[in-house]
């Protein structure tokens, strides 16, 4: 804008600065608290200059929450969910946009509905399914009479069982099963000119070839954006991992925060709690900061 509105600009700056403080103060407090010893962290008011115990606190939190194993699991889990989403969503959206088959719009809506009911609201039965992921198929076989038929004919009782509790697939698969990414890809595919698919067909390439050689390379910015969003989202998952992994071998970092809450009648060692919080909140923050360039570029490149 070419106009000069110094008073209005000053007010804006003041409010923006206030917003910046609101966003940054919690980070600052976590970092500062993580550098003090237990006595200093509990003084009122807490000193606003960093202390000298950062590494001692980090080590203590690392050991108390068993963060070596937990962070490894978290990275594995978040990466797998993000990759699963990126790949399966791209494929599903391709099918919905580029193929004409009967029941296609019913299929579209069947996938769309999953956006309305997040995992948290159907947590109890999902847990039951995770205990045996093949239960739905067993039930279908039972009700259609196939179980009975097989037993009659061969004497074998069909019993499908695949327990997912305390396993990586159990952590990962239920979180991949939503439509978030499918819609992002659908919107993107719809903006791709028809001529491209026509040209591909004319050149004699089939749908698989078109998908791998043209659509996927074109959707790289979307993939990076979706991967970032999904990585952060799954890193931050809490309720599902809490339920499905009771064996500490499969536990993830975020649920381990529970171990760091100072107990009511124990030592108020907030310095260690904040050190642990710092370690656990850092990875998704780093991903967002690294990827922000892409997001901001996306924001600015839109036509003004």
């Amino acid at each position: 804008m070419v106009e000069r509105t110094p008073v209005f600009d000053a007010i804006c700056q003041a409010i923006l600065f206030l917003g910046l403080l609101i966003a940054l103060v919690p980070f600052a407090i976590v970092i500062i608290a993580a550098t003090h010893d237990i006595r200093t962290v509990n003084t009122v008011p807490m000193p606003l200059v960093p202390g000298r115990d950062l590494f001692a606190n980090l080590a203590e939190a690392w050991q108390r929450a068993d963060l070596g194993v937990k962070l490894f699991n978290s990275v594995l889990f978040a990466t797998a969910v993000a990759c699963g989403k990126v790949i399966l969503s791209a494929m599903a959206a391709f099918s919905i946009v580029y193929f004409r088959f009967p029941g296609r719009s019913a299929l579209f809506w069947a996938i769309f509905v999953t956006l309305m009911l997040p995992l948290e609201v159907r947590i109890v039965p999902t847990y039951a399914v995770a205990a045996n992921a093949l239960a739905p198929f067993q039930a279908i076989l039972d009700t259609t009479g196939i179980t009975w038929l097989v037993q009659r004919v061969s004497g074998i009782e069909v019993k499908l069982e695949w327990g997912l509790l305390n396993s990586y697939p159990g952590l990962i698969l239920p979180l991949v099963a939503t439509a978030t990414g499918t819609f992002l890809y659908r919107q993107f595919y719809l903006t791709i000119p028809d001529e491209l698919a026509e040209a591909a067909k004319m050149d004699g390439s089939g749908p698989v070839r078109f998908f791998v050689d043209m659509l996927l390379p074109l959707s790289r910015p979307n993939m990076i954006a979706l991967f970032t969003i999904m990585f952060v989202w799954s890193w931050n998952q809490y309720l599902w991992p809490l339920l499905v992994t009771t064996d500490p071998k499969f536990g993830i970092a975020v649920t381990e925060l529970r171990a760091l809450i100072p107990s009511e009648f124990g030592l108020p060692d907030w310095n260690v709690a904040m050190a642990g919080t710092l370690i656990i909140m850092l990875p998704p923050l780093i991903v967002v900061i690294l990827m922000q360039r892409w997001f901001v570029r996306g924001l600015i490149s839109t036509e003004k």
């Binding site: 923006l16 917003g19 039965p125 698969l173 923050l285 900061i289």
Partner: protein
């Protein structure tokens, strides 16, 4: 919008969508159906048969003041956190869009809160808002007992609303910013030439053009406040004190997994599902009419 150029092989088309469909069937449709079935039966925990009881589970819930408490708390929580998170994000995004000095720095930093896991920020805010240490301890030094989320229900509610809103300021900010970026510059420039000041332009041009985003974020914020709040509640208050922060999703978890009351938890899940769907539909039907699409 439909594609003109399409592929004809139904088999290949179905193969592409099959993995996603399979996952959605096993982990979405089956459990949702199961919840519906359980809600109408009395299920013994850990197997052991069940019995059809019709609407009894629901009648029990609706007659239970403890359940109503969790419904009302959830609505209060949703309303308070949505208003705060969206209001602040909107103001900050509108001002950042003016490209004043440092706007790039603001743009980057204001997004950060969204990257933090709900439980992690729950723990951070538990410390920040702790009555005996942290930031607000100063209040209690001036007037002892004025702030105590561990004992006072209202204080505890305020604490979880602050933590939750803080996270969603970042989320809403991203969406407002990208919506503002897509408003043609020529529009605001023309208005400026006609003598409209910055405040007038915000009210008459930017806000009306932002309504689709406002509407979208309203739906998302309310839905998220019903589910993403779990981690914050679990770390900060565990539903206490005296059930003052026992939101619906926390009660489902507590009754289902701590109390092993599958039927009760399933009935609660069904009500929560209906509530989330209802909110989405109502917002679509009534608010969308006032929305200006370009």
């Amino acid at each position: 919008m439909e594609k003109r150029a399409t592929f004809s092989s139904t088999t290949i088309g179905l193969l592409f969508v099959a993995p996603m469909l399979l996952l959605i069937f096993v982990f979405f449709y089956w459990p949702s159906g199961q919840a519906l079935y359980w809600a109408f039966t009395l299920e013994q925990p850990w197997g052991g048969g069940n019995q059809w009881v019709g609407f009894q589970n629901f009648q029990q819930l609706l007659a239970d003041p403890v359940y109503w408490n969790s419904v009302v708390r959830s609505l209060v929580f949703a309303l308070a956190s949505t208003v705060i998170a969206m209001g602040l994000a909107l103001v900050l995004a509108l001002f950042t869009d003016r490209e004043l000095r440092f706007h790039r720095a603001y743009r980057s930093v204001l997004v950060w809160p969204y990257a933090i896991a709900a439980p992690a920020l729950g723990l951070a805010f538990r410390f920040i808002l702790a009555p005996e240490a942290g930031l607000l301890s100063v209040i209690n030094h001036l007037s002892p007992g004025l702030w105590n989320p561990a004992l006072d229900g209202t204080d505890a509610m305020i604490a979880i609303v602050i933590a939750f809103s803080w996270k969603y300021i970042g989320y809403n900010f991203i969406f407002f910013l990208s919506a503002l970026a897509s408003i043609p510059r020529s529009l605001t420039e023309a208005a400026a030439m006609d003598g409209a000041g910055p405040a007038r332009r915000i009210l008459d041009i930017q806000l009306p053009l932002l309504t689709p985003t406002l509407f979208f974020l309203l739906v998302i914020n309310i839905t998220e406040s019903f589910q993403d709040s779990f981690g914050i509640v679990d770390i900060m208050t565990q539903g206490g004190p005296a059930r003052a922060t026992e939101l619906m999703v926390y009660k489902i978890y507590f009754d289902g997994f701590k109390g092993l009351d599958y039927s009760g938890a399933a009935a609660q899940s069904i009500i929560l599902m209906l509530l989330v769907i209802l909110l989405t539909v109502v917002q679509f039907r009534f608010i969308e009419r006032r929305v200006h699409y370009k």
